[in-house]
Symmetry: C2
Subunit: 348 residues, 2 copies
């Protein structure tokens, strides 16, 4: 039985709640939300994945057109028997020397007065904006540092995937600050305050060689430039974690340490959520680590979907000693589960 208790009204957001960003697009997922507590309002930064309505005899795929002031959504439409078209696996097609993805993501805002009942904005918040985002933007995280809201998100392009930083004043527009972690890197969670005078972050480089994708630590003088990279949390040889692990929402400060809820990918590509505690003053040191998952796929909306058997969190809100863990289920839905901080730490 999971320590995190699911909200009875899950999922709180489904693809049908989201208006497509272009006529001819189909929303296939509204998931992996960043989460922000604005006091009177809970703001989620949804990852919205869109494909195209298909037409007989045609192959259609979402694409960005880069223009003078960024990018705009568009549709690639090719005759199915076009000799320049190659169908790849379900993730995309190849046409005249370029890859196109079958789904492309942007970040959309959803707002709620109570954290459960959400209204989704009619248009994108972060859409592909430059050459490094031409395949879309995914999995936003939000953190308030020194009274400013910083966002990190995965920027995807024909050159690979990396992590971008942006700043927002109002959750309506952003100012881009560049790629802060080069390919291949995602799951970047910046700490909400300086530690020992430096900004700090967890990140997750890919690992295609020996070793397995693990959680790394980095430092920065200015949030823009990062260094002193160190591997601090590795997958364990269990059915839960054996493939890889990665960080979640920005760490939560508690008297006992920095609490993180991370995700693990295990046997049969099953994703689960776990807790760990990092040292308050030297957060590259792991103090405690859970031996049981805090949440794993059990409900139908977690087990079945666009990519089943996935729970993945990059948005956590702390309120009155309790954590609301927003999470993506089956790469399709947005859900929430809760527990007290003391219960979570006690379980580690």
């Amino acid at each position: 039985m999971s320590l995190l208790k699911r909200y009875s009204g899950n999922p709180v957001i489904s693809p049908r709640d989201v208006r497509p960003s272009l006529e001819g697009y189909v929303v296939q997922g509204a998931f992996n939300p960043g989460a922000v507590d604005l006091g009177t309002e809970t703001v989620l930064l949804l990852r919205v994945a869109e494909g195209c309505e298909q037409k007989p005899g045609k192959v259609r795929a979402p694409m960005c057109r880069l223009g003078a002031v960024g990018a705009c959504p568009a549709i690639l439409e090719v005759d199915a028997d076009d000799p320049d078209l190659k169908l790849k696996d379900t993730r995309g097609v190849w046409y005249r020397g370029r890859d196109y993805l079958s789904t492309m993501s942007h970040i959309r805002i959803a707002r709620s007065p109570d954290g459960y009942d959400f209204r989704v904005d009619p248009s994108p918040f972060i859409f592909a904006g430059n050459e490094s985002e031409i395949y879309g933007v995914e999995d936003a995280r939000a953190v308030n540092i020194e009274n400013r809201w910083y966002l990190t998100y995965t920027a995807v392009s024909p050159d690979s995937w990396a992590t971008a930083l942006a700043i927002t004043e109002d959750f309506q527009s952003i100012r881009r600050l560049g790629l802060i972690f080069h390919p291949e890197n995602k799951d970047v969670a910046i700490f909400p305050e300086r530690v020992g005078g430096k900004f700090m972050a967890l990140h997750r480089p890919n690992n295609s060689g020996f070793g397995r994708a693990s959680i790394w630590f980095a430092e920065s003088p200015d949030l823009l430039h990062w260094g002193n990279h160190r591997c601090i949390l590795r997958p364990r040889d269990t059915r839960w974690e054996c493939m890889k692990i990665g960080g979640g929402a920005p760490p939560i400060k508690t008297p006992e340490g920095w609490l993180i809820i991370y995700h693990a990918k295990g046997e049969d590509s099953l994703y689960s959520l776990w807790g760990a505690l990092l040292d308050l003053e030297e957060p590259w040191k792991v103090v405690r680590r859970g031996r049981e998952p805090l949440l794993y796929p059990e409900e139908p909306y977690e087990v079945e979907g666009f990519f089943g058997n996935v729970v993945f969190s990059n948005g956590v809100i702390e309120r009155n000693g309790r954590l609301r863990v927003y999470y993506g289920a089956a790469d399709q839905y947005t859900c929430v589960a809760e527990a007290s901080i003391s219960d979570i730490i006690g379980s580690l």
Copy 2:
């Protein structure tokens, strides 16, 4: 015919010129040198790859033992029929839950009064020194910035491979400054001076997804922390470059731009050397790029060896308008080839 003219005495350094760093080790390669012009002396920073002398009925592999003050070379020796031993491909073995490489590299210094006749130091200059280097250190590059010598090298460990920064006063000892580019990243070349007030570097993230490994650009306020990553030079669809490309020695400043000698990996894993010119004030802009290789494997010491058909350069010395391009051949030898800067630029 290559534009770079080979020295008639190539190779200038062979494995037999290098004393093993431990009894029982066998030097298999002395290659991919960083290069430094100290006026009266040319200093090369060799990558020395060592395996173990084998014994009947045993499997032996080089390893590091981490101690209180760094690491020291050691040998894993296991009975060939030990049930806990698994032979992997030729690159290593697995024993009791850990991988061991069949060869491990360190950085060794070679010195020459004329740049051709080298004497190799008897012991390592940079040997594995911490957890991020437990599988060795490879492919050093040296650059003088504001009258200090900075070194970058590939740090290899069970957690993957990444790029470390160090500083040296005397080419006898180093002070480590941490990993500046997280996994998977190598081929880091720092510019010898600030441009627009910032330090700048080329680097080469791995690419296991869509796209191919390309040359990226990054900026830094302090050499320790890096950001604003941008992909600036991609492989072309030719037999020379179709697999990947990566940066070489630190860029050479010329009146026409920053000259770089980069390497390409093409069909049949053949490596060749190429030239490109970057804008002087905005070095993330590529001004010119060669259409023919500056050097490709032709000589026996390039075509045959530990890994044949490879020429790879990370050390270039400029003197009187000419470049001496030191390069590794076949992952085994160190060689040198030369051309005038004007001829190279004229060919781009």
